[in-house]
Structures are given as C-alpha cells and as structure tokens.
C-alpha cells in the first residue's frame, strides 16, 4: 500500500489559485530569524503508521519526536542553543512566572474560602505561558484560552483588576459577566476569553487577516490547549490561516490533559505538532517547560509571520500539575505519581538555575521577590474586595451598542416589580 511520504510532492493546482504556499521560507524570513538554533519540524518517521504506543506512561512525551529544548535539567544550556537573551527580558519573564505561581496559590485559597467562585490554575505551565507571550510585541494581539491569564499580567493588566474580575464586582472591566479568569484587557490587545473550547483560534486568524489587509505590522497569537486540537475551530482556523498566509502563530499548550481525558485519548497522532502537516504549515514541538526554548521557537515563528512567511503551529509540551480547575479532583482519574516526574521538570526552577548560572539571580533576590509578590497580591485582593457590587442596571448594557427599547422595558418592569 502506498503510504504518504513526508516530502512535498508537486500537487495539482489550478491556475486560478490565488493563494500559494512558499516553496521555502523566503530570504527575508530567514534573515529575520536570528536564533541560528532553529527548532525542527515534526518528524519524518512520524506518521506512515498509526502510533502504536497508545499506552505510554502518563506524563511521558508520547512520541519518537523529541521536543526542541535549550536548557538541561540543571539549568545549563545545550551547546549552541542559548539565544542569549537580554537580562532585562529574562528577569521580566522570571518575575511574571513567579508572580502567576504565587497568584495560583493565593487564588486557590480564596476559592476554598468562598471568596471567589472559581480558579483555573496555571501551575507547571508558567514557562510556556510567559515565554511564548514575551516573544510578541505589545502591538501584537493575543487570543487566549484558560491558561493564559499570565499573558495579560505580562502586558500590564493590573493585579487589582485581575482579582476584581474573579470577584465580578464594579472594578471588573467585564462587569461581572463572566466566570473568573475570563479577563478582557483592551489596551493589552488581549481579547476577552470564551469558555467555549477552540472558538478563539479562528478569531486569531481574523485578527491577523485584518492586520494584513490594513497593512499593519501586527501578528496574532492563537492559544489553545491540547483538547482544543480536536475542536472543529482548530481545524478551520489552521486551514484558513495556512491558505491565506495570515500573520498568526498558533500556540498549543499541550499539558497532556483535557480535564480527565489524557492526550492519548484525545488523538493518536504521533505528536500535536505533526497536525500542522495537514495544513501545509510548519509545526514545531517544543519543550514547554524550557523558557528559552519556548521563547526562541515562538520568536522565530513571530518573526516569520511578521515577514510574510505565514503561520506556524507550536506545540509546547508541558504538564498540568494541578487539577483542571478549583472544581476538579484529578485523583479521580489519574495516578498522581506522574506529577512528581513533572515537578522535577519545573519551568521556574530550571530557569532560575540558568539565571543563577548567569549570575543574574540569587537566593536573596528570590526571597525579596517572593515578598514583593505576596504583598502585591494581598494589596490587590484588598483593593478588589473593597469595590462595590456591579449595579443592577448594567445587566442590559453592552448587549448592543445602545440599549434597545425592549431591554429598557424589561429592566424597568423588573425594577418596578421589585419595588425600585
């Protein structure tokens, strides 16, 4: 039986086809790609046969395809791979990662105390979240999923507003209309998240096409989880993105779980990255717990998109250390011993070792930072909790640009019935 080889074949193409694939990345793209250490695409071996290893141990990368990495476990860089980032950039990333870890701890407590209703933790994924987002410019747009709240913070969203959103009071920009963690941050080009898995991915393509049509130098990031790759929106977004060569980077945080569904029940493709092949797109598998690897791979994809080279699909291989959310009990469905293994690959610890080896960090700074984070969070909680409830009348605002007659009437009637 003839199986598909991974090499490109001349394909039947109509003359009228307006959108064509580049034969190879243009010189411009190559020039824009500073990091000589370009991560490699999904494997050649990957796919002629269906993957046999359906029952790999939980938590182990389940393919023959090793993810791209820069840092060893001890925090030293593999030869020739260190992107040599500016110290300020690295410290900014480190601060953001540690802040969202501290935030996870505090917010989970608030949730247990009944002070907020829900929390979706990022623990274990801080490297993937922050280092990917750091590779974009501020003018670039972010279309987040649940685990990317840290991107808003990285871009300057205030902690107080973030906490207020989780409370849903008058300080919350979205006026208490969504569950916690569904932030909106317009100045940060961070679009209000939807609970519905996958929906944001085509939006990223649309933003990118809008920017392209207008001639703006803007790239869009479409984030998603591994579960989202099964959604139809993933499929259509990847396809539209590739066909139109939109300046978009698709970023999948493969934390290997979609609530209780492990990755091997989500898909039997050899990797997540290989899915890009179906769209004629470049796919890259990256060690998501390796800050420098995530940063370099994302930066390369962003630069390529900016230079007109079209979209890239990044699989950031990481692990969801905690439950899916504050409402989830992972012991019901997984052997928690796998967590140990992944805690040993902690992205923050690994990055700290690297920073220490570069003499950019030490224990004193660490202690000081932790104190700062805790104080900032305490202050944010205090300020946010002091805010009043959302006024009732806002319930009919923002359904449309102006409140239509029937909504005015409904509000008036209800208020009348309730006695004002």
């Amino acid at each position: 039986m003839a199986t598909v080889k991974s090499k490109a074949k001349p394909k039947p193409k109509a003359k009228a086809a307006a959108v064509r694939r580049p034969k190879s990345p243009s010189a411009k793209v190559a020039a824009a790609t500073k990091s000589k250490s370009a991560p490699a695409v999904a494997s050649k071996r990957a796919m002629s046969k269906p993957s046999k290893n359906v029952l790999v141990p939980r938590g182990a990368p389940r393919t023959d395809d090793a993810p791209w990495s820069v840092l060893r476990a001890d925090g030293t860089a593999l030869p020739g791979r260190d992107p040599k980032l500016a110290p300020e950039l690295m410290l900014r990333m480190y601060r953001a990662m540690t802040l969202i870890r501290a935030l996870d701890g505090r917010m989970l407590i608030l949730q247990r105390q009944g002070r907020i209703g829900f929390w979706g933790p990022t623990r274990g994924q801080e490297g993937a979240t922050i280092a990917s987002c750091a590779a974009f410019e501020d003018r670039d747009w972010i279309l987040p999923a649940l685990r990317e709240g840290g991107c808003a913070l990285y871009r300057g969203f205030s902690l107080t507003e973030l906490v207020a959103q989780t409370i849903g009071n008058a300080l919350d920009r979205v006026k208490g209309r969504q569950m916690p963690c569904h932030y909106s941050f317009k100045e940060g080009n961070y679009v209000a998240m939807s609970s519905v898995i996958g929906t944001q991915i085509p939006h990223a393509v649309g933003v990118a096409l809008g920017a392209k049509t207008r001639g703006d130098d803007v790239v869009a990031a479409g984030y998603m989880g591994d579960g989202a790759t099964s959604s139809s929106d993933f499929h259509v977004a990847m396809n539209f993105g590739a066909v139109s060569k939109a300046p978009v980077v698709f970023i999948c945080q493969n934390n290997q779980w979609a609530i209780s569904v492990p990755i091997e029940k989500q898909t039997v493709s050899s990797t997540i990255a290989v899915k890009a092949v179906a769209y004629g797109m470049e796919g890259v598998r990256v060690d998501g717990n390796d800050v420098l690897a995530v940063y370099s791979a994302t930066k390369r994809a962003v630069d390529k998109a900016r230079a007109g080279g079209g979209p890239t699909f990044l699989e950031l291989l990481t692990f969801r250390v905690l439950g899916h959310s504050s409402s989830d009990d992972p012991t019901r469905y997984r052997d928690e011993s796998c967590v140990k293994e992944w805690e040993a690959k902690d992205p923050i610890v690994r990055f700290r070792r690297y920073l220490e080896s570069r003499k950019l960090w030490n224990q004193a700074l660490e202690d000081e930072l932790d104190g700062q984070h805790q104080a900032a969070i305490s202050q944010a909680i205090k300020a946010a909790e002091a805010a009043p409830a959302v006024p009732t009348a806002t319930i009919v605002d923002d359904v449309y640009a102006t409140v239509p007659a029937h909504l005015k009437e409904q509000l008036r009637r209800t208020l009348d019935d309730l006695g004002g």
Binding site: V4, K9, A278, M281
Partner: protein
C-alpha cells in the same frame, strides 16, 4: 497541467523501478468477470449521468449532479465492499449505489421525487437513500456523513461484526468541521472506516490550492495518526486495490484509512453551474484524456477482456435500462400531500395530525396549491 505525484498508486500506469512503464498486473483478487463487471458499472453510471443531465435541461427533473470523469472512484471503491458494509456517500457517487446493488429504476424515481421514490420526494434529486443496500441518505450539508460513518464503524467494532463503513466526500469537504472530528474519532477508537476523498480538484469555483495549503489530501491523515493513501482516481483497478487493502486493515482491527482518489470533475458542479466562469480550459482538456472508462477499456482490450460485441451489449443494455426507467418514472404521480406529515416522528404527534387535517380540508375547499413554475435551483 497536473503532474501526477510519484507516490500515486496506479495499476493501469505502472512504473518499473527505473521509471519506465511496466507491464500491467491485475491486482490479486480480481479476475476477468470482475473487471468486466466494473466496466459495466462505470458505463451504466455514465449513461445515467448523461441522460439525467439531459432530463434536467429539458425541464423534466429539477436538478442533477453529474459524476462524469469520476466513475472509477465510486465504482472501484464500492466494488470492494461486502454486503454487510455500510456506505455513507456524498451526492457524487451514483456509481457506488449501482455497485452495491441499487437499481437504476430506484434512482430515477428519486430524481423525479415521485410516489415510487423510496424517499417520498422529500429531498432534491441525487440525495438517495437505500436502506436495503446500507446506502445511507445523502445530505446536502457538506461533510456531515463523514462523522456519521465513524459512528457506524464504532458500532461495527463494538459488535465485532465483520464489516466496515466507507464514506465518500470531496476535496472541499476536507475543510469541514466533520472531516476533522470524523477522522480524529475514527483514529482514536480504531473504527473500521474508510474515508474516500474524491479529490476532483474543485469545490464549485474554489480550486484545490485555495481549499488547502497541504501538499496532498492524503497527507492530512498524519494529523490523525492514520495511514493516508493517494491513488489514481481515474484508475478503477487502483481504487479497488487501495480500498480492498484498507478494508482488510480495518477488518483486522488496525483502524481507519484515508484514501485520496485524485480525479477531476469533467462536468459542471451541478446542472445549475457554469464552470467556464472560473475554470481554465486546458486543465479540463488534460483530464479529458484520462477518461477512466477509456483507460479501463484499453487495458481490457490488451488483456483480451473486451470485444466489440461486449461493448455493444454493455452500452445498449445500459441505455435501454435508463430509458425504460425514465419512461416508467414519468407515469408515476407526485406523492400525496398527506405524506408531508409522515416520518417526521415514528408516530405522528397531535399538532401534526391537526396540521394535516387542516391542509386536507383546505385542499378540498379551495383546490390544491399550485406548483411554482419559475422556481429554479441556482447551484
């Protein structure tokens, strides 16, 4: 214009290791009778298509979708099925219906939507449904059948049946939601499914290059961890072989296969379409030279399976059968108005009973509704 890729499975144009053309070897499992049978099915399909397009032009039926040039995809694949397998077709596989044993008469009744149409005139022409042949109702929305076939295949696996499901769709359908979910589910559950994409390189006016940026359709299988096979879709023997192999794998519990049958839509998208608005003529001419019926005939001649007398009998009997079926279908009236209300549910609920009574009373009082003679389908 369209160079055939090297990895294209072909029987009728075999290449030796040195790239020279080699001797044609009949795939194992096929013999003279079977090849002749496939030839007959393709000729029948062609005759049906030809006549139906004419009927549409004459205003005798409302709409038609020809499969001219693509007969080998449908016939070669469906001929590889057993009588337990299920078929989830699109609108462009009349040859598959014939191959699984549907009569030309039954199909022509459906084109007329008359009282003898098994689907009671409820769908547009070519939206066949033949329960007995496990040929599941064709739906217009692109792609929906793909994921349904997987459901049947999962059931076949759960029940440990020696049967598979095959689903047909076009290149355009690979962009649909249901393609993605269908292939993923089939791969995850190792459902015995064959996904047969008739890549005719056009989705109405959208050329393949604007449909997807992937190198081939077959390569999309990688995204789901299943084998993808690319076959010369104008080579009925190759399509048969690829389908048979995929079927054997499915039955052996090895899961689904995506088959890309590379072909070309010689005719318009449908009776309402004018491809000269958007399609280059050279492309058409190139592909007209690869007519699947002519190619098989050439092989059969060389293998001593074809004579003038055989040809005459095959063509004439196909024409006669189509003619007779048309003649009969035109004597059958439209379904009765009361059939509007049946089969909405297993039993008719009270509100439909009421609506039915009202309608019949109104028809009695004022006469039946008139058919709008101006109504014409645009696509």
């Amino acid at each position: 214009m369209t160079p055939m890729a090297e990895d294209l499975l072909s029987v009728l144009e075999p290449k030796s290791a040195k790239g020279k053309s080699a001797k044609i070897a009949l795939p194992k499992g096929l013999d003279r009778a079977k090849v002749q049978r496939m030839y007959r099915l393709m000729v029948q399909t062609r005759q049906l298509d030809d006549r139906a397009m004419k009927l549409q032009r004459q205003g005798r039926i409302g709409f038609y979708v020809p499969s001219i040039g693509q007969e080998a995809c449908a016939v070669g694949s469906a001929f590889a099925l057993s009588d337990k397998d299920w078929c989830y077709p699109s609108y462009r596989e009349p040859g598959a219906a014939l191959a699984v044993g549907v009569s030309i008469q039954a199909m022509i009744h459906q084109l007329y939507g008359n009282a003898e149409d098994v689907t009671k005139g409820r769908q547009m022409p070519v939206h066949y449904a033949f329960r007995k042949q496990r040929y599941v109702s064709v739906s217009s929305p692109i792609g929906t059948q793909i994921v349904q076939a997987v459901g049947t295949a999962m059931a076949q696996r759960i029940r440990k049946e020696k049967a598979i499901s095959i689903t047909y769709f076009g290149d355009g359908a690979t962009s649909s939601n249901d393609f993605h979910t269908g292939l993923n589910f089939a791969a995850v559950y190792k459902a015995p499914t064959i996904f047969l994409c008739s890549n005719n390189q056009w989705a109405i006016s959208c050329p393949l290059g604007q449909q997807t940026a992937s190198d081939t359709i077959a390569v999309k299988a990688k995204a789901y961890g299943m084998p993808g096979v690319r076959v010369d879709g104008n080579d009925v023997l190759a399509v048969w072989q690829a389908t048979s192999e995929a079927r054997a794998r499915a039955l052996a519990g090895e899961g689904p296969t995506l088959i890309e049958a590379l072909t070309f839509r010689i005719g318009p998208h449908s009776s309402s379409d004018d491809p000269s608005r958007y399609r280059p003529n050279e492309q058409l001419e190139t592909w007209q030279k690869k007519d699947p019926i002519e190619r098989l005939k050439k092989f059969m001649k060389s293998a001593g399976m074809w004579t003038e007398a055989f040809e005459k009998e095959v063509v004439e009997s196909a024409i006669d059968e189509v003619n007779a079926a048309v003649k009969h279908a035109e004597t059958v009236p439209l379904p009765a108005s009361s059939t509007l209300f049946t089969d909405v549910y297993a039993t008719m609920p009270p509100h439909l009973v009421e609506q039915q009574e009202r309608l019949l009373a109104l028809e009695k009082a004022q006469g039946g509704a008139e058919i709008d003679k101006n109504a014409a389908f645009p696509l």
